[in-house]
Symmetry: C2
Subunit: 192 residues, 2 copies
């Protein structure tokens, strides 16, 4: 624990809760069920930030009080957003596409202190380069079941995930779903 704050996390992601739990005293998780659709003409790079802001606006209109954190993570490959795979078949197909290439992970986040109204909306972008994957490695990973709840079909913190990543350029934790350093700086700013 780094800062002595209780934070309201408006996100159901267990990885975000874990990362935020490393830096704050206490977390209250609330579920928002925000509409995650976006206009087709919107630039893909702007989607994560727009959704994080929309989640925050939802949290405000629900009357949630305290220091609130919302976030949205997207995985971009060749100008296309990769969502969470619907099944093993789609998970394998995503991993085949990521194999041997560099993709981009963007997490938009919003931090608000409802007491002093200070709010920060920002995002973090990380490039992730995958090694060339064999069909066995793809099948082995998808068989662990770890693909299904993750955008892009992989988790960097898994055993398999760790051998898939040849290198990253940017914040590592951003790829897990929350750019810890940036969110920490934002929390310090809105709390003071």
């Amino acid at each position: 624990m780094v800062i002595d704050l209780k934070i309201v996390l408006a996100s159901g992601s267990p990885r975000r809760k874990f990362l935020l739990g490393q830096i704050v005293r206490e977390i209250e998780v609330v579920s928002l069920d925000t509409d995650e659709s976006f206009p087709l003409e919107m630039h893909q790079n702007d989607v994560a930030l727009m959704l994080a802001k929309r989640k925050m606006d939802d949290a405000i209109s629900r009357g949630i009080e305290g220091i609130i954190v919302t976030a949205d993570t997207i995985v971009l490959l060749d100008g296309e957003i990769l969502g969470k795979p619907a099944d093993s078949f789609e998970a394998k197909s995503m991993l085949r596409r990521l194999s041997g290439k560099t993709h981009t992970v963007i997490t938009g986040f919003s931090v608000l202190n409802t007491k002093n109204k200070k709010r920060i909306d920002s995002f973090s972008e990380t490039k992730v380069t995958f090694t060339n994957l064999t069909e066995d490695e793809i099948a082995g990973y998808v068989a662990t079941g770890s693909s299904l709840d993750k955008a892009g079909g992989y988790g960097v913190q898994d055993g398999y995930g760790s051998i898939f990543m040849e290198r990253i350029d940017g914040c590592y934790y951003n790829v897990m779903g929350l750019p810890t350093n940036s969110v920490y700086e934002a929390l310090k700013t809105v709390a003071s």
Copy 2:
């Protein structure tokens, strides 16, 4: 577990054991007590690889059999190698130096299959950029005791460590002590 191998890890680092444990079936840890001194005229970038190779040569001369992994990690700042801090005072001083700057982490590793004599000596280099740290953050981290057994005085996998790192360029796991992807590729090569 990704590859069905039993590996002899000649390293006392719990983080290396953890990372290797993510990708292989079984690990036998052996202790070598290799001399870690190096010639002063040696280029700092070459030290980690040289020590990993020396550890492997020690393992061979001790008659250890199987698929063996050795490694050595160094932290480089402004052309100087930062070792493990001797006490809290030195740990704080190291973190003050790392604050707001980019340093380099190099892990040299050696992988040998004693059956077919295939051997790979290689290394991985990662740039780590620290945020500007306050004295409170430095003192708070050092008080956790996490500094003392780590080269450079920090661990990327700690809660505090994660907020120190603004970005990394290269393999994340390399900063933890073992470049998982590269070692995995090397293990596949020597095992076949």
